[in-house]
Point group: C2
Chain length 317, copies 2
């Protein structure tokens, strides 16, 4: 008998609900608008409805669902199934989401940090296959991380491990959204990319502080487009991006001596433009025994990494 | 029947050989000069002689020795018992020290990185007792680290994990011994302390570049002595030290979310002078869920941490 896992990825704009096999194949997904499902009750309702439709469409019985996992953008208490808070979604404070989901879906339900889930997916079925020591970084509006140490997810004592985006790499650097100065994310999150792009002469018009947060993603793409046209200024921006990212990755390599580093997230689509500077910087800054042991590669599972990770989490239980 | 472990700590000036019980009690030690035992053959000879004397003096039979562990200042292949290289000791390249020790001592012999060994000691019998997520930093000429993740030592894929001293915390910072710029160690290793002390008006005389390496330790102490006399300039140096150390510790806290951070090594004797700035900085820079979860304490086992760690390694096998 086939068995399935329900994976739910709670993103900034969309909630993605998918059915995934034990072997990490995502069979079918449905996308819900995040805004319309931003409270815990509406979220559970919306996801429940989507699961009903997905199961019905594929004629899958509920008994064939082995479990469900929600990947949440924020710190969670995995053992208790509680979401401590969500980044950029107010009203989520100590929500017992595992219990609420189990009540609605009628199956074993877990919560996990979204980046940890993506790391589990890449580890078992993507670019991180076959290693016991792995660091996954996701590059987007912010910079996240998920760590596999000694063949297991490193959650830390309160589920907050992996925040590589908030390593300070220059205390005189730009202010970060977290309040500190000079975090990796302040340099290479979308706001940081925009800062670099502006200095290089890009997109001057849209870059008043008020417009920054809204404009971040399109303008980031614009820089990428520039690189594809062999625009020199754009190439410089992505090289600078690669150097800053390289400092962050070198720090992780020196601390954890991983066998592989996987770089994912939307901004990782600019991989060809920043990868050479990234690798050069890591070779220069990581100590030789760690630098020799690591390979740095692009993620393979794209948007589905979190849903695939749900399968890993449930089947490994 | 009592059983014993032989712990060997290969330091820059001394080699310490000790007998330790299963409960982490160091019964007796002997100290050998490192210079006279700097080659693998002389090292094994010297340690073998010391072990003979220690066992004879306590009337301990060889059969009661459960195993031996050498803590080496450099990367090792723990599984194969090979020392890749030693910091500041030439001539150690891929030395099968575990095999050489077993031949001489007649017991199961392991090698481990010295800071990892100290971390194991503090974890089981010192300031890190009772937690599954622990970071130990050792502050001396350099800055080392040993990490316990999910209740096990994190060695990384090639035994090179824990090099927290080589996280870059400011790419425009001073040059580090490793060749990079702005490593944590470049700021707060003894050379960094001397730089801060010099700027504060201390010890101008001895601080030509040639004298720096030799003078490091006494001058470091001098800064400490100044603090004890309530010398304002000295207090400033240690506060600055605490802030830089705090950046490094905050980075480790953001990446690994440990329950406890233990600070050891000779320079940690200045604890009362830098601890407040260290704790303030970590509270400011670590994300709240990780900052709330961690306590930062001084190491408890002093010079014996590595020998105590030998007992942990052997008994946990």
């Amino acid at each position: 008998m086939s068995e399935w896992v329900i994976g739910v990825d709670f993103g900034g704009t969309n909630i993605k609900v998918g059915l995934v096999t034990r072997t990490g194949r995502v069979l079918v997904t449905e996308v819900l608008p995040a805004r319309a499902h931003a409270t815990p009750a509406r979220f559970v309702d919306g996801v429940g409805g989507a699961v009903d439709r997905l199961l019905r469409a594929r004629a899958i019985r509920r008994a064939a669902v082995r479990g469900a996992v929600v990947g949440a953008p924020g710190p969670v208490d995995h053992a208790r199934g509680v979401v401590h808070s969500m980044v950029n979604v107010p009203g989520w404070r100590e929500v017992p989401l595992g219990r609420l989901m189990r009540r609605r879906l009628g199956c074993h339900s877990l919560v996990e940090n979204d980046v940890n889930l993506a790391a589990l997916g890449e580890w078992r079925f993507g670019a991180g296959r076959g290693v016991d020591q792995l660091a996954c970084l996701t590059l987007g509006t912010g910079v996240g991380g998920g760590l596999i140490v000694n063949g297991a997810l490193a959650r830390g004592v309160s589920g907050a491990a992996g925040e590589v985006g908030h390593m300070v790499i220059n205390p005189d650097g730009p202010r970060c959204g977290c309040g500190a100065r000079g975090c990796l994310e302040a340099f290479i999150g979308t706001a940081g990319i925009l800062r670099m792009a502006r200095r290089a002469g890009f997109s001057q018009r849209a870059l008043t502080p008020e417009q920054l947060s809204e404009a971040a993603r399109p303008h980031t793409n614009q820089v990428g487009v520039g690189a594809r046209r062999d625009n020199r200024a754009s190439r410089q921006v992505w090289q600078e991006f690669g150097r800053w990212l390289g400092i962050g990755v070198a720090n992780v390599v020196n601390v954890l001596n991983p066998e592989r580093v996987v770089i994912g997230g939307g901004v990782a689509n600019a991989w060809p433009f920043f990868a050479p500077a990234l690798r050069r910087t890591v070779r220069r800054l990581a100590l030789p025994p760690a630098a020799r042991a690591v390979t740095i590669v692009q993620a393979q599972l794209g948007n589905h990494a979190g849903i695939v990770g749900a399968a890993v989490l449930v089947w490994d239980k």
